[in-house]
């Protein structure tokens, strides 16, 4: 028995996990088995190339409460690799399963391959300051953040679907879940972003960034300080190590200094543009194009020029 297991409670992310899983299958010659909590996801995952999909069924709905059931599936099969979608819930589940398996785990793996009978992964350290290659003995666990991979193409033959009864953790009772993405905007899906930092003096001034965003057809994003300290923008627009990770075509950074904790969330953008009044600001080292100048002067001019 063996297998390359994938699990994510996030439907899109579950599909994306199959891309590295199918790559690992080429080296390990083991089946890809997707664990899911959703019947609908099961159909999709089978079509995207999972050899087998197991739907875990339980009265419990708390995703983290399925950790023991996922561990049981993985351990009974004698899995080689478990890839888990790197949401916070996913990281909780993956850490639990890794501990029970007595296994190593890479958090937020960017690249994965098998070499020397071990899983080789790449990830960042020190909030993005450094890149680290890790070698994880099998069985190995890795979490993968959303959009690290594109989902695979539909497979020639769809995999099989089974169901399995799951015991969930009943010690924790979930009293209430309040959605915080009320706006329904997913900035990680945006093609262009205008990101604002503390160079703006007050919330009302963000209108000049919105105006630029309008002519560029870009969504507004921000630094941690703008979202968490000033509360000028909702938290889901904040880019950085503990916020969102994005790779748009254009990342237009205005009035932000480009600290590594922020840049790690956007440095895979195709083109980075910066406007900042401090020529020595690290954002210019991270930018393809930049203007040194007062954003209050530059932005309206740029909006006008681009609007022509």
């Amino acid at each position: 028995m063996a297998g390359i297991f994938v699990f994510s409670e996030d439907s899109a992310l579950a599909g994306q996990l199959l891309t590295p899983a199918l790559e690992l299958k080429k080296s390990l010659s083991q089946p890809v088995i997707a664990l899911t909590l959703s019947e609908a996801d099961a159909q999709k995952l089978a079509q995207l190339g999972a050899d087998k999909v197991v739907v875990l069924q339980s009265a419990g709905k708390w995703v983290e409460g399925f950790a023991e059931a996922i561990y049981a599936q993985v351990s009974i099969a004698g899995a080689s690799v478990l890839l888990v979608g790197g949401t916070l819930r996913g990281k909780h589940v993956a850490s639990y399963v890794a501990a029970k398996l007595n296994a190593g785990m890479t958090t937020d793996a960017k690249a994965l391959r098998i070499e020397g009978g071990k899983l080789q992964t790449t990830r960042v350290l020190y909030a993005g300051l450094a890149v680290c290659e890790e070698e994880v003995a099998l069985p190995a666990v890795a979490t993968i953040r959303p959009r690290t991979f594109l989902p695979p193409a539909t497979a020639a033959t769809a995999g099989t679907i089974e169901t399995a009864a799951a015991e969930t953790d009943t010690r924790i009772s979930v009293d209430e879940v309040v959605s915080t993405s009320a706006e329904g905007i997913d900035i990680t899906a945006a093609n262009k972003l205008v990101a604002v930092g503390r160079g703006f003096r007050k919330k009302e001034d963000l209108t000049i960034a919105e105006d630029l965003g309008a002519v560029l057809k870009a969504e507004l994003a921000c630094t941690r300080g703008v979202a968490e300290d000033d509360h000028w923008l909702p938290i889901e627009r904040y880019i950085g190590i503990s916020g969102q990770t994005v790779k748009p075509e254009l990342y237009f950074a205005v009035g932000l200094s480009g600290q590594v904790q922020h840049m790690v969330g956007c440095r895979e953008s195709k083109v980075i543009v910066a406007v900042n009044n401090d020529e020595r600001s690290p954002i210019f080292e991270a930018a393809d194009y930049g203007i040194v100048g007062d954003l209050y002067e530059v932005l309206p001019l740029l909006t006008a020029a681009l609007g022509k």
């Binding site: 639990y96 890794a98 007595n102 296994a103 190593g104 350290l125 009293d175 560029l216 503990s242 740029l302």
Partner: protein, 259 residues
């Protein structure tokens, strides 16, 4: 009156780590130690809980022999006693080893109602330790907690996830990992710093934890660590005329097909 144990990591301050341009290796020779950022929130939360509810806070850290340097800072932040495990294995420890050591130490130290962690360490940010330790100890785990309160043996917490907040209830004993937004760690006063010197600390010998040699062998081994280098065009317009800069940037964006 909860008995709390807060676990923390003594890390290098990443602000002082430089990347050597010749080979992209990291130069941490000037980096000082610090209590990992999010762990300071965990210490603060434990201190606040005890200030409010009574009870007691102990602290526990596993690290290389440099971990001893952390004791005074830790104790000035509220804990009454600090336990420390200094062992060379910490140098290469992965989250599996760290959790094995901490879980064994917690078993030895006795029953705690709450075991607190920061959401991740400022160096590795594995975000694994709390859930791993809970799994090894067979305790429930509340991860990514933004707000919490304790009443008797009932813990109520608000967890903050990507797209929602979740209110949960659990009975102690429980493992908790906290987010940085849960509180603002205190800057210890002179009195607290002086008081820390009088507080007890105790070494927990790794040999006394009943661990097998393989429990201290990392399953995830760091093969290489290199500074991340941005490959960017760095075309910066800095004429005195803003209009001129704007015109140049517009043509650059047009050339990239972005406007």
């Amino acid at each position: 009156m909860p008995k709390c144990l807060v676990c923390y990591k003594w890390t290098l301050d990443e602000q002082d780590i430089k990347i050597k341009p010749e080979d992209l290796s990291l130069d941490s020779s000037r980096a000082k130690g610090k209590i990992s950022d999010f762990d300071r929130n965990a210490i603060e939360e434990a201190a606040l809980l005890v200030e409010k509810n009574g009870g007691a806070v102990d602290a526990l850290s596993y690290g290389t022999p440099t971990v001893k340097q952390s004791l005074k800072d830790c104790l000035s932040r509220g804990p009454e006693k600090a336990y420390w495990i200094a062992d060379a294995s910490a140098e290469s420890a992965d989250a599996n080893v760290t959790a094995n050591v901490l879980a064994a130490a917690i078993r030895k130290l006795g029953q705690y109602d709450l075991v607190l962690f920061g959401e991740g360490s400022s160096d590795q940010f594995n975000q694994q330790t709390a859930a791993r330790v809970a799994a090894l100890l067979g305790l429930p785990c509340l991860s990514f907690v933004q707000k919490m309160s304790v009443e008797g043996d009932v813990v109520k917490a608000t967890r903050k996830l990507e797209d929602c907040v979740e209110n949960v209830t659990v009975k102690t004993p429980v493992v908790v990992s906290v987010l940085s937004e849960i509180n603002k760690p205190r800057i210890p006063s002179l009195k607290q710093v002086l008081g820390a010197a009088k507080k007890p600390n105790e070494e927990v010998k790794i040999a006394d934890l009943g661990l097998k040699p393989e429990d201290l062998q990392p399953k995830a081994v760091r093969k290489s660590v290199k500074g991340f280098v941005m490959q960017r065009k760095n075309i910066i317009y800095k004429e005195t005329s803003a209009a001129e800069n704007v015109a140049k940037l517009k043509s650059s964006l047009a050339a990239e097909g972005l406007c």
